[in-house]
Symmetry: none
Subunit: 248 residues, 2 copies
DNA sequence: GGCAAACGTGCAATAACATGCAGGCCCCTG
DNA sequence: CAGGGGCCTGCATGTTATTGCACGTTTGCC
């Protein structure tokens, strides 16, 4: 087995799986782990791969963070655009505090007139430079983790108003468990928000579909609109389509 | 499972849900919680994430508004420091929304315990990473000019609570006209804030001393503390000293 | 104020590592 | 063809990294 040959195989393996283990390669190529290590070191110095303790990773895999952010950013913009279209002139809207919601309100055209209630200071600030939209910030205890207002104040306030539509971001959504979240305070507020609204729109990046968190927010059938970055007829959404959820 | 691999997965999880629990990760990645803790600590030191008790949070989500800190001039920092000293452990504090107030709450030592009510979303967000302070955001119509909550909701809410001390920024202050402001909504809220508080502290940069705005907020004698960037015995403050205002 | 979960630390076992050395292979030269 | 040098490989050595567990402490919640 020639060195170049091994290198080629290692690269092939890394391209395939984004990672290799020294021990696997030694077994597979029938050489000692020392040799593999030497190979990996050379290739790391050459910049072909990234060596780590125990094996090596593909160079692109080593810096997936920014790519992911950008990718997720694009997806969220896509979702935001679709969600935005659900807000018609004169509507009374209620929103939660996710980044997708934030994106959405930032994209609202300056000519749109609406009243937006929100539990998120960030959403309120985002809307500060919108000329026509009236913003009502719903006050209460400020949750440091999720940067929205929670607590009994919020819940009882919500009980006194009816909204045309409620936009919520997603933490977990799945067929079996419906909409789920990880924070008790948030769950209670979200429940109250849903109860106070005629329509419920859930915004969800495809990656979060079919993930489950600890606590239940609501059943699937309570969701009216599901807005994702996928095409509405994507097969990944089949199960949700069967629940009579309007897909966007 | 390679360490880098775990790190990448943790980051992915955090980007997705904005937070992770050590216990969940341990289960999901099939390693001990100790290992996860070590991972999270490393990533926290590297600045990738923010570690908290029980798990970790996304850095970008947690500090989206840090750029705001830059604006504060030296004078405002000086004022902020003096004002900060008036907040003692256990106090129930009410604040308005000026940049000086924002500076001040940003400087509060991490060991300080207090409950801070505020009409300013920015103040709430600024305090989001303070471990001990409870933040109550007072909700209402969001004023786009001044980026605080105003309106009858706020006023009636304030009528039901008593605060130890109220911090307000300054728009205009002068011997003849007292504290003045330019926006009717703001004035009404400020009046209610003053009425609800045992002590009134006004934060004011020297340039704004002896300026007058269109509408009156309160008389000079209602002010308990005047915090400026001048020395307390500065002659420019003589007139205010005569009004029995405590100078800082 | 009490309790359980989360925490940090030290320790030990194991895996992975770097390094030096010896043997084997190839090629070159005499 | 014999010998030698360069390169690669495997093995042995000692070192470092990583991980899980045990311990006592801190933290957050009720």
């Amino acid at each position: 087995m020639l060195k170049k040959e091994r290198h080629a195989l290692i690269i092939k393996e890394i391209n395939l799986h984004n990672k290799v283990l020294s021990s696997d390669l030694a077994l597979q190529l029938n050489v000692s782990e020392d040799t593999i290590r030497r190979d990996l070191n050379e290739m790391d110095e050459a910049g072909t791969i990234v060596k780590v303790h125990g094996g090596a990773l593909s160079r692109s895999y080593h810096y997936p963070f920014q790519q992911n952010d950008i990718y997720a950013g694009e997806a969220k913009k896509e979702i935001a655009k679709k969600g935005m279209d659900l807000i018609k002139d004169g509507m009374v809207v209620l929103t939660g505090g996710g980044t997708t919601v934030l994106q959405m309100v930032g994209m609202l055209p300056p000519t749109r007139t609406a009243t937006i209630f929100t539990i998120s200071p960030l959403v309120a600030l985002q809307l500060a430079d919108h000329p026509l939209i009236t913003v009502i910030l719903i006050g209460g205890q400020f949750s440091k983790n999720s940067q929205v207002c929670v607590g009994t104040q919020v819940v009882s306030y919500l009980s006194e108003i009816r909204f045309d539509i409620c936009f919520l971001g997603t933490n977990g959504i799945s067929i079996g468990d419906g909409l789920t979240d990880s924070d008790l305070d948030i769950v209670q507020v979200k429940k109250a928000m849903i109860k106070a609204s005629n329509k419920l729109a859930i915004m969800c990046v495809a990656e979060k579909l079919n993930t489950v968190q600890r606590m239940r927010v609501c059943e699937l059938h309570q969701i009216d609109c599901l807005i994702t970055d996928l095409e509405p007829d994507d097969s990944a959404l089949n199960a949700y389509r069967r629940e009579n959820i309007q897909l966007y």
